[in-house]
Symmetry: C2
Subunit: 145 residues, 2 copies
């Protein structure tokens, strides 16, 4: 019934539970599964307390992207462990809810799956407010786990 499922994955416990459901559902529906991890651009973090490496401020974007890439790949491994075969991992930078929704439109996903709230991961982007925003903006169904 679903052909292309998008799982938003930030590495948190809640996101992992959502990802496992996504993998199970993708297998059942013979759908492709896209694992998407987001990172914040340097500019968004500039005014905050968040400093990864005070000596290399120019690298922050790259470090964030690399960390997101590791997380997305870990997500793909978890989905594979859950029996899913057709998986692709992606990373994107940008405002979380809007980026998830625009990604889903671009890739014609017919279901978005995510944790209903974040659990204090470093980026902390999968907060309840994000899932609410995604459900408000999305044109396809959203499964909150």
């Amino acid at each position: 019934m679903f052909k292309s499922i998008l799982a938003a994955f930030d590495g948190s416990e809640g996101a992992e539970a959502a990802l496992r459901k996504a993998a199970e559902l993708a297998t059942l529906c013979e759908a492709e599964l896209m694992v998407l991890t987001l990172y914040r651009h340097h500019s968004i973090l500039e005014g905050s307390m968040f400093v990864i490496d005070a000596e290399k401020p120019d690298n922050i974007d790259e470090i964030m992207r690399d960390h997101a890439k590791d997380t997305a790949e870990r997500g793909a491994s978890i989905a594979k462990e859950s029996g899913c075969e057709n998986i692709r991992a992606f990373v994107k930078g940008g405002p979380t809810a809007r980026t998830i929704v625009s990604f889903s439109k671009e890739h014609e996903n017919d279901l978005i799956i995510m944790g209903s709230r974040g659990l204090g991961s470093i980026e902390g982007y999968l907060l309840g407010s994000v899932s609410h925003k995604v459900t408000s903006l999305s044109e396809c169904p959203v499964l909150l786990v």
Copy 2:
């Protein structure tokens, strides 16, 4: 993967789309499908402009419950048309989001499906704020269509 699916159905277009997804998913998972329609108790409506029959104010609860029962039965028919076989229809009175969530706990549903927003049905109870409240309160996954 899901064993017992709860579809909240208020008769609106959005709720009907959600119900059809619920029926499809229940069929795919060989799960039972519970269709739940809610009505508001008289006391909640007392202060509002909502008057069904000015001459029989004592009947309002009954009229609301009967209307909810018709809606739930229509929901069950729609689910049946969608190919689902194991369906039960229920009506409940009470505050919408809390009643959906307490029903799902009582019946050990492992998935709640509902429209992401209401479309101006008479009761108007499946508003976006309700779906947000359900996702906040629910202990099981929630699919917003």
